[in-house]
Amino acid sequence: MSIQTEVIGLPPLSPSRVASRLSFLRLKDFPLIPALILGLIALVAIFANFLAPHNPEIGSLTARFKPPFWQTGGTMKYLLGTDQLGRDVLSRLIFGARVSVIVGFTAVIFAGTVGTTLGIISGYLGGWVDQVIMRLTDTWLALPPLMFAIFLAAIVGPSMWNIVIILGLVYWTRYARVIRGEVLSLKEREFVRLAIVAGCSKRTIMWRHILPNVINSAIVIGTLMLGVVIITEASLSFLGIGVPPPQAAWGLMLADGRQSLMVGRWWLSVLPGCCIMLMVLSANLLGDWLRVKLDPQLRQL
């Protein structure tokens, strides 16, 4: 990769440079289907209001437990059936996508911003700052993520934005550890020394010379983290400390579906799970590909 030579002078990104950076998208092993699925889920999340045939939070009690349309008793009015309150499952899945997309992306970006910033500061400044940040990182990494998230959720109470903050607090350490390691080797490089000689302040060096070189790793970690974050959110909602009812979230739908699993109402548990799987598997496949493409050092991660 020729990024190092680009960064020294940091010329403005001309359109052709942008094109050359994005050229990897045309490669033949690009995971097209996972990317399309993620794109589709994002579109569904954005346009949920227009796509959902029914109100996801208000059902009709006369239409409880309708199976999907292809089973006996199902109607075309409720394509994928209804739940215990007579709410349309398809509409709830569509609005559930919105929760997963919002929580997934904002939590990953939040964790990434905090983790990358602290990783750069820790690696570049070194000394006691590094010691403090890294000891904290080690300790928080020792707490199993789901357990830590459950603990925080139990303190602050359920809400979608609380979940975003909690997931950010739980997962920033993953970025900080890796980014710090990269900064340690970057700061010995010629272009950083030149920048010091040229009289750049520490902040300028970290912001303009170090950050552009670690952003690839942050993106790779973020993509791989997306799946983990979505599963954690679903787990919290499933346990009743995530997104509060009656809002539609996939994890919450699974928790509701569990009640009527034993009588064979499979659609209430199987369908939301399929949505989670599609989204997480797509994110993981895309992340795997990005990891190999952008950052050979992370292949063992």
Partner: protein, 306 residues
């Protein structure tokens, strides 16, 4: 050697200190901890009593001192719901969690190691791809959903396995598989990369030059050595499994630590939640220390490096 172990132990103690500080800090920064420590529906007088009883009217650093002193005695407080010390509850559930985690680990290794070995021998070919897909699928499925689908198929439709509870080995199969599959990907990947590293080493080349058959080279020379890092990871993951089984234990009503944590949430039994999380973090910090020391004992390069 002694210096190395001393330094590792100091780090471990520092981590435990930061862990207690983290838990202490989060409980207090989000509001009055009395509202968490008091039972739902308590009166003003009760809250004042709690303030006094737990020393919440004292300065923060004194409060922290009391908190740590209690922890050092193994006192995690008393459960509101069960009216017994949290430590007792925890220890009574721990064997169940270890039991589940051990069987789940067995499943995970049964899936992960053979697929990893096959993948390393057939890089980029069918088995490599199939193994990767299978384990990636395990990583992408929420374990509790795998549990729900297993119940649907094997309990509701087929009626082969009990859907929840504990007691017979049959109760263990589904939760252990749901938990184990999630971890299989990590074991498969490490087995694969570890095998690839060993297969490229000099002594494997020598074994091949001697004309040993491929199967013998892989099974005897490569596999045994490639297994060391995998088993280390399995050791750490076993402890992690004990602590992340919450959702699976809830789905199958398995009476382990995860279920205790869930009960803590649903009954708003905060001492239980705090105790389980503290114990989980401490367990992992200590296991990391043990592994560091074991590595130093086994491998002189590590202890001489420092």
């Amino acid at each position: 050697m002694k210096r190395y172990i001393g330094r590792r132990t100091a780090y471990c103690l520092l981590s435990l200190f930061l862990l207690s500080l983290t838990i202490f800090f989060f409980v207090r920064v989000t509001g009055d901890p009395a509202t968490l420590l008091v039972e739902p529906g308590a009166s003003e007088a009760d809250i004042a009593a709690i303030h006094h009883q737990f020393g919440l009217d004292k300065p923060l650093w004194v409060q922290y001192g009391i908190f740590v002193a209690n922890l050092a005695h193994g006192d995690l407080g008393k459960s509101f719901y069960y009216r017994t010390p949290v430590m007792e509850l925890y220890l009574s559930r721990l064997p169940n969690s270890l039991y589940l985690a051990t069987v789940a680990m067995a499943f995970s290794l049964i899936i992960g190691i053979p697929t990893g070995v096959l993948a390393s021998v057939r890089v980029g070919r069918f088995w490599d791809r199939a193994g990767k897909t299978f384990t990636l699928l395990g990583l992408s499925l929420p374990p509790f959903w795998v549990g729900l689908v297993l119940i649907l198929v094997f309990s509701v439709y087929l009626g082969w396995l009990p859907s929840s509870g504990a007691g017979t080995p049959l109760h263990l199969i589904m939760p252990a598989f749901a938990l184990g599959w999630y971890f299989a990907a990590a074991h498969m990947r490490l087995t694969r990369s570890s095998m690839l590293e060993v297969l490229g080493s000099e002594y494997v080349k020598l074994a091949r030059l001697k004309g040993l058959p491929q199967s013998l080279v892989i099974a005897k020379h490569a596999f045994k050595n490639a297994l060391i890092p995998v088993l280390t990871l399995a050791g750490i993951n076993l402890v992690i499994m004990v602590n992340v089984a919450t959702v699976v234990e809830v789905v199958f009503a398995w009476p382990g630590i995860g279920r205790l944590l869930y009960e803590g949430i649903t009954f708003r039994d905060f001492p239980v939640v705090q105790g389980v999380v503290l114990m989980g973090g401490a367990m992992i910090v200590i296991v990391n220390l043990v592994i560091d020391i074991l590595y130093a004992v086994i491998d002189p390069r590590i202890r001489l490096e420092s």
